[in-house]
């Protein structure tokens, strides 16, 4: 027993330092040199100000922008710090809704969203991903169908021809990797940034 104390103690300390400090710190150094942009969180900077990350969704509510998926993230209530309130796309507290398939709250929430969207674009089937919450609460993407669904609203709000907006959407579709892995999707923030850019031109 006693003979085992030295290897247990020495190896534990040595491997702790190696895997818990040297490894992550060295990787931070190397990654910062090789891929500085990604290592910092793929931040988008305009005029010296950070406006978001390419990988993190944002909460869009204006008619002039394409909207992302519903997000179930919460945050501290600014009025009362002891309470938490819904705060969609809170990138400092990722979470999903965790509502189960027989939970009345889930069905009611989705029904409300479906009814609202039906009013916005009657006659077109409501895309599934626009009424279901994202797993992380930060999904940066929507499906191509969800983007097309919003084209009439965005075009109207911006006074642009629907054809132009649709073309912009087409150019943002990211297809499956090797035609096989993942699902086709559109990064909402990138699309909206381009939309603003197109309006300026």
């Amino acid at each position: 027993m006693i003979k085992l104390f030295r290897p247990a103690f020495a190896l534990l300390i040595a491997l702790t330092v190696l895997t818990g400090l040297i490894y992550p710190l060295a990787m931070t150094g190397i990654a910062g040199v090789l891929f500085p942009k990604q290592a910092e969180g793929s931040l988008i900077v305009r005029d010296g100000k950070v406006i978001g990350s390419e990988l993190i969704g944002q909460n869009f509510t204006s008619d002039r922008y394409f909207h992302g998926r519903p997000s179930a993230t919460t945050g501290t209530d600014p009025a009362d710090p002891s309470k938490t309130v819904p705060q969609p796309y809170n990138a400092a507290n990722s979470m999903g809704s965790n509502l189960g398939p027989t939970n009345k709250a889930l069905i009611d929430r989705v029904k409300g969203d479906v009814d609202k969207l039906k009013g916005e674009n009657p006659g077109v089937p409501v895309p599934l991903d626009l009424v279901t919450t994202t797993a992380s609460g930060l999904d940066p993407d929507i499906s191509p169908a969800a983007a097309y669904f919003q084209v009439p609203r965005v075009a109207k709000a911006r006074n642009l021809p629907e054809q132009d907006v649709k073309k912009l959407v087409d150019s943002h579709i990211e297809t499956r990797l090797f035609g096989l892995i993942g699902e086709p999707h559109i990064n909402v923030l990138a699309l909206n940034l381009d939309l603003d850019g197109a309006a300026l031109r």
Partner: protein, 567 residues
């Protein structure tokens, strides 16, 4: 279900199988102490470590010394982890000013990480400093994974050696595992993840002004180095609360694919190590077949259920399956596959919220864990769990034909069967027992997020996942309460060590036996009959144990769902 979805699943299986031989060859060399490609770089570090630790790499240990070494290593690891969590407020690398983690949560988290469970009662980005992430989580991710692997190696030595008391040297095995296998892969893996978009920085969280003028605080940190080992070591504890669903932990469908492969890679390759050490690689392939049959069956059911969707939502005119709690870049196929992979292995990372899966889709992860995570399983843990089931299966076969059962040239006798039964029986005692207690305890029931049978499933999932050392959750349940923190920790502890200790005891008694040369009466353990027998024993033993509990949870929920009964 789509063709593209099935093609992804087929590609995944092909890649995992293709990696089995090369990784098995390499790992076999590492644990045999032979020279490898990395030796010029790693050997000096290895020798230096033995020197400061006073380890003679030529000397070996019997099973009891091996076990005691392993346990002492864990006690030390637990203390370091617990102290770091309790004192993180005063320690460096804490740009967000996180304060000390509460005692019961620290206890739960420390037990959870030393047992390779990595249950998340903590919310990564809201609770932990960067130092806790590195010195606590990342470090135990390495060591608990290495422990799983070396226990499997020790058990294989027991089966394949003869007339000896020694089953290897724990200190040498764990050092070689960390230096030659886990660290080198993680270095390359981390860089891949950063290239793909995962952050790796010590800087503080970033304040952004969104396009619509709102404020968004973006949590970052040394994420990639933690994610790499959490997947490779089948640990699964997230840097962020949303785990591998978080776009920073798992930025693209590509990273998602690589992460799934890395969860299975070492566990699958260990079957090949077994075959090589037993002198017949077919022995390893037979085990992989058993795992493969159960795995594909699970994927098929889960993918079907998720594609069929939620009745209540389908009736609103929505089509395409169940996307609640899933990410668009992965879609339904890659989310279902991930859920099965992560629970078949004891990883527990999630790229979709299992709590929002359909009743049957969410039942598959539960079954995977209740079977003891032997379908590939945790690195090492899967193989020793499977070998324990094989002992039972061989025993059953021996009873049928009326002769002493043998496996890879060793007689299986009463002692091994008793140890195997102890390991198999103690798991349901934990998850069924604690679930039963929780169901009648008002304070425990209050933690449930979803009413009706789904709430029961949440509790069952919690204790199943803890006992099986998985760590994934039906995340709606509020697990961060004194009751769940303590009972969960007990379940994790028992689930881990009441598997490992019987496994090492079997290793010890097997190593002492003589090799019995195969004869015409020997039951062949490489063919279809053997695969069928083991699958059958697993399904029967497992099914009888947990079917009643599943009937109260997911099965009754499925029936309610199809009849549109809501709660």
């Amino acid at each position: 279900m789509t063709l593209a979805g099935w093609a992804q699943i087929a590609l995944f299986c092909a890649v995992v199988v293709a990696l089995v031989k090369p990784l098995g060859w390499y790992m076999n060399r590492v644990f045999a102490g032979e020279r490898t490609l990395l030796s010029p770089a790693v050997r000096p570090i290895e020798v230096a470590l033995y020197k400061i630790a006073g380890v003679n790499e030529r000397s070996e240990q019997d099973w009891l010394t091996y076990t005691v070494s392993m346990l002492m290593f864990h006690v030390g690891g637990f203390l370091i982890f617990y102290i770091v969590l309790r004192t993180q407020g005063w320690l460096p690398f804490n740009p967000q000013g996180m304060t000390a983690v509460a005692p019961d949560l620290s206890f739960n988290t420390a037990v959870s990480f030393i047992t390779n469970t990595n249950w998340q009662n903590y919310g990564g980005e809201t609770t932990l400093s960067y130092l806790s992430q590195m010195l606590g989580l990342t470090h135990q991710n390495f060591l608990s994974a290495a422990t799983g692997i070396v226990v499997a190696i020790a058990l294989i030595r027991g089966f394949t050696r003869a007339s000896t008391r020694n089953i290897g040297n724990f200190w040498v095995d764990i050092t070689r595992c960390a230096l030659y296998i886990l660290l080198p892969i993680c270095i390359v893996y981390t860089l891949f993840l950063v290239w793909d978009g995962t952050p790796q920085t010590l800087g503080a969280y970033v304040d952004a002004t969104t396009l619509e003028g709102g404020k968004q605080t973006i949590a970052v940190g040394p994420v990639a180095s933690q994610v790499a080992i959490k997947m490779l070591g089948t640990n699964g504890g997230g840097f962020f609360n949303a785990n591998a669903a978080h776009p920073f932990e798992n930025p693209t469908a590509f990273s998602n694919f690589v992460q799934m492969v890395s969860i299975f890679a070492l566990g699958a390759a260990l079957t090949n190590v077994f075959g090589r050490m037993a002198g017949n690689q077919k022995q390893g392939w037979a085990i992989l077949w058993v795992m493969g049959v159960l795995f594909v069956a699970g994927v098929a059911v889960c993918y079907w259920a998720e594609s069929a969707g939620i009745t209540g939502l389908n009736e609103l005119g929505l089509t395409g399956g169940n996307m609640e709690g899933k990410e668009v870049r992965f879609g339904i196929a890659a989310s279902s596959l991930f859920a099965v992979v992560t629970t078949a292995a004891s990883c527990g990372a999630v790229n979709a919220m299992h709590d929002s899966f359909t009743a049957l889709g969410g039942m598959i992860p539960m079954i995977n864990m209740q079977l003891g995570e032997i379908i590939i399983g945790g690195v090492g843990a899967g193989l020793y769990g499977m070998l324990i089931f094989i002992v039972i299966a061989i025993f059953v076969a021996g009873l049928m034909v009326g002769r002493t059962p043998e496996y890879v040239g060793k007689k299986i006798e009463a002692k091994e069967v008793k140890m195997a039964m102890l390991a198999i029986l103690v798991l349901p005692l934990m998850y069924l027992g604690f679930t039963a207690v929780a169901s009648v305890l008002p304070s425990a029931v209050a933690s449930i997020a979803n009413p009706g049978p789904h709430g029961f499933s949440e509790m069952l999932y919690l204790f199943t996942s803890s006992t099986a050392n998985n760590g994934s959750a039906f995340g709606g349940i509020t697990g961060n309460t004194p009751f769940y923190n303590v009972t969960g920790a007990i379940a994790m502890f028992v689930g881990r060590f009441f598997m490992i200790i019987p496994a090492l005891a079997i290793a010890g008694s097997m190593a002492e036996k003589k090799i019995v040369p195969p004869s015409v009466g020997t039951f062949p353990t490489t063919g279809t009959l053997f695969v069928g027998l083991v699958v059958g024993v697993i399904v029967i033993v497992g099914g009888l144990t947990f079917f009643p509990a599943l009937a109260l949870g997911p099965i009754v929920e499925h029936i309610s769902m199809t009849r549109n009964m809501l709660f």
